[in-house]
Symmetry: C2
Subunit: 242 residues, 2 copies
DNA sequence: GCAAAAGTGTTCAATATACACCCATGG
DNA sequence: CCATGGGTGTATATTGAACACTTTTGC
């Protein structure tokens, strides 16, 4: 880091949150309705400006998550996604926002938090639909978040972070199918996930079903990485010949 | 993004660069010697504060790269790595720095740029050695950069970004071996990389050698993703049982 | 018994691994 | 003709893909 004259321009620093979940067979994202200008009344990612108290970026993201959505930061996966700072992305002044990506389980405490004005789950397809008016460059951020999520569940065990504390193999498979938008073979999937050491821990419980054999219940195991990765139909290489 | 009172604390925003290359059979990183306090005389990543002119983060990274290292931004791969903002990481005031990762080919114009005071290539092993005094939290950043590089060459064609415009399969293999710190079978590696469509484009040229069959020369092809990925001995899962 | 969903076994193809072997050059 | 590194062939093991089939429940 150099010191080109040590002139620090007035740049505001914010932290935004892209909180994803899988609900009703759809990938959904937490959005809030803006109560003030600019973009008043439009949908936006939860977030806020960085306070100057001694607080790390990660801690700021966790604080915003709790304040704006009422979700428990310790109960879900949170990681830095990307930092956005294009001039003009905020009409008021230069704002650089560090965006975090979170994976939340399905019914994550019915969205009742302190500052949560109009926080709600919105299907990603709806949020990105041209008809939806999104504040700032949040459409671009949502696209990046979804792409990161799609990639991460391929080589990590994070798909289980979308599931409740106890879940079945079929529920986990549905997560992959919804996030990737493609159907997986239930038989091969079952063998795959139960074969990876540390991915799933059987609880001994079984589901009660409405016709059909009961499924075994699992908890998330200690493994974070998947070796080998979950197989997936090769993504078309958008930036060149694959 | 919310507006908690619209009080913007005095936070400085910087852009830092982790520029990696493979030289002399070692992964090396570009460091500059700091000329001013704090950390005067210590080694640091090139970078600088974000100017308030209308300039995107990517553009700022490219500008810093040109100014501080003399490298041509258009000639190498540049991507956002991570944003660091731990309180106290700069003793002067709160500084949030957006760090970029760059992959440079071997002899990248002998480090002669404008502001390049004492820019030099340093083996990563040396930079991270306890004896080396690094400014700020740049040791942590370098570790993150190396880990990202190790992962990226696995499923992208970026390893070729470490090679000169024309290179042999053996040179590319050496890149993998140096970055991963493990030896690869030359025969299988050759078949693998020449078999991936769009990875390597033969130029028709051949090397002149000092004993040994001349090798075919290749250029980087249009492909960016590797399907399937370059095989690699499974990394131990540091955060759980794999 | 029948429908439905869970879970197992088996076959076949694609890919990784190991390594024998041939090729092309300089000395 | 030998040393040296480039490049191909091939056998074996591992993994993915497809799908027949068995298990266990509700009705």
């Amino acid at each position: 880091m150099t010191d080109n004259g040590w002139k620090i321009p007035e740049i505001a620093v914010a932290v935004d949150l892209a909180v994803l979940t899988v609900r009703d067979d759809a990938l959904q994202i937490m959005l809030v309705e803006r109560g003030v200008e600019p973009f008043r009344g439009m949908q936006a990612l939860p977030g806020g400006f960085l306070s100057d108290v001694a607080e790390s970026l990660d801690a700021a993201a966790e604080r915003e998550l709790a304040e704006e959505t009422g979700l428990d930061p310790s109960a879900l996966h949170l990681e830095q996604l990307h930092t956005y700072g294009t001039p003009g992305r905020d009409p008021r002044q230069r704002v650089v926002t560090i965006c975090y990506l979170a994976f939340a389980p399905d019914p994550p405490a019915p969205v009742a938090g302190g500052d949560a004005r109009a926080a709600s789950w919105v299907p990603v397809a709806t949020a990105l639909h041209p008809g939806t008016r999104l504040a700032f460059d949040h459409g671009e951020i949502i696209r990046d978040a979804v792409e990161r999520a799609r990639n991460k569940i391929e080589y990590t065990t994070l798909a289980a972070a979308f599931c409740p504390p106890e879940f079945t193999v079929a529920e986990l498979r549905r997560v992959y199918e919804v996030v990737w938008g493609e159907l997986l073979d239930p038989r091969n999937f079952h063998r795959k996930v139960t074969g990876v050491a540390g991915f799933l821990v059987p609880t001994g419980g079984r589901t009660t079903r409405q016709g059909g054999r009961p499924a075994a219940l699992y908890r998330r195991g200690p493994a974070h990485l998947l070796h080998p990765a979950m197989p997936r139909s090769p993504a078309p290489d958008a930036t060149g010949t694959s």
